[in-house]
């Protein structure tokens, strides 16, 4: 039996109050090992307070070829942004 340990994607919360952020991947036989390997690989210098591991095969990514239909439509909806609206300087706290 020759079987490589599967690939896991690693997400680290660098400090309380921040989102987990993708930092890379590693190989591990199971989730516990993935957590421990992630700790040794990606938090050696105090980079984290929390770790998520997800086996890579469970990640579904959007296709770059779809990026126009997926993301273009949001681009011209300028009315979603506060800068679209003019408010007189005299009016504060807005």
């Amino acid at each position: 039996m020759k079987k490589e340990w599967p690939l896991w994607e690693i997400f680290i919360r660098s400090k309380s109050g921040l989102n987990h952020k993708h930092v890379g991947s590693l190989h591990a036989a199971d989730a516990e090992m993935a957590l421990e390997n992630a700790r040794d690989l990606y938090t050696r210098r105090n980079e984290g307070v929390s770790i998520w591991v997800v086996e890579s095969k469970h990640i579904t990514a959007s296709d770059p070829d779809d990026s126009d239909p997926l993301f273009e439509p949001a681009r011209d909806k300028v009315y979603r942004h506060p800068t679209f609206y003019t408010v007189p300087d005299e009016v504060s706290h807005m």
Binding site: K2, E4, L7, G24, S25, A29, D30, L41, P64, D65
Partner: protein, 320 residues
């Protein structure tokens, strides 16, 4: 869209400094070049653990032992960051490792030189990591996103490597006559191989032009080598050590150091497998890989059994 269009869009992204990401379209040759380069780089980190690891059990103080352990461990880490980047291109780590063990893939020739005295640990940090950093700082801006990000992380960690190396050299160069002799001996042996790390002259470097156009590389071998010599020579002078090159002198006109001819016969001979330690390095990696097979299999088998027990708790409890 035709593949010509794809290629034009790809190149215009590169020209506009937009990073290429894993699922983006890229020319086959770009992908292949990257996999080759990133995996060679990863192999170099892993093989690079061996010459330094050679001194872990002989480190002469607890402080040095901790530093060396942490440094060699970082190299394993860097290897893993890089394999991880290569895997985003669809490569499989086990295949890449096979290529290393069968001699199909190369790694940096510098690690085929032996570490013979303790000062070598300093010289590796100072010269080898110094040369590597020159190259790697450039690579933090490489066009492929995951590679660039891995390099940012690696560069942050590498600066500790170089500094501890220079500090070790200082302790040796300013220490007893024996220590100074070790430091000089070590500089004598590592200087030229360090210069060779930048690879052949631009005129003899087959992959360079395309790599520059794709912004995988951003400076040529000779430019990088010159940078390295310019910053390193004054550091050697500070240590009171002699760089083993009679032709080395400051060229006022160029604003750079001129240096002697590199022995490319030696370089190619080491690349082809005839360096002092090529065989030992690959044997050591092969032994680790083969001796470790049963451990990796056991972990996988356990993970699978655990998964099965989770799926069929009743069957498992009956069996127990």
């Amino acid at each position: 869209m035709t593949s010509l269009n794809f290629e034009a869009i790809f190149q215009s992204k590169i020209d506009d400094e937009v990073k290429i990401e894993p699922k983006d379209w890229m020319p086959d040759a770009y992908r292949k070049t990257l996999i080759r380069q990133i995996s060679q780089h990863a192999h170099s980190e892993i093989v690079g653990m061996l010459p330094e690891g050679n001194w872990i059990t002989r480190a002469p103080s607890l402080r040095r032992k901790l530093i060396l352990l942490a440094k060699v461990q970082d190299e394993a880490g860097h290897g893993l960051y890089l394999y991880s980047a290569a895997e985003t291109l669809g490569a499989d780590r086990d295949d890449l490792v096979q290529q290393l063990l069968t001699g199909k893939a190369k790694y940096s020739s510098i690690f085929n030189y032996p570490t013979l005295n303790w000062a070598d640990i300093g010289a590796i940090g100072w010269l080898v990591d110094g040369a590597a950093i020159t190259n790697q700082v450039m690579l933090t801006r490489t066009s492929y996103g995951p590679y660039a990000r891995a390099m940012v992380r690696i560069c942050k960690e590498e600066s500790f490597h170089q500094r501890q190396g220079y500090e070790l050299m200082m302790a040796m160069a300013f220490g007893s006559p024996e220590q100074k002799a070790m430091a000089q001996d070590s500089l004598n042996r590592w200087w030229w191989p360090a210069l060779m790390m930048f690879g052949p002259h631009d005129s003899d470097s087959p992959h360079s032009d395309q790599a520059l156009k794709w912004k995988i590389k951003r400076k040529s071998n000779d430019e990088l080598r010159q940078n390295f010599v310019d910053v390193t020579v004054p550091q050697a002078e500070y240590l009171g050590l002699t760089v083993p090159d009679p032709d080395l002198r400051w060229n006022e006109e160029r604003g750079h150091y001129d240096f002697g001819k590199i022995n490319w016969d030696e370089f190619w001979s080491v690349v082809k497998g005839n360096g002092p330690c090529n065989r030992q390095r690959i044997q050591a990696r092969t032994k680790a890989y083969e001796d470790g097979a049963w451990v990796r299999e056991a972990a996988m088998a356990h993970a699978e059994k655990k998964e099965q027990r989770k799926m069929q708790p009743e069957a498992a409890s009956k069996a127990a």
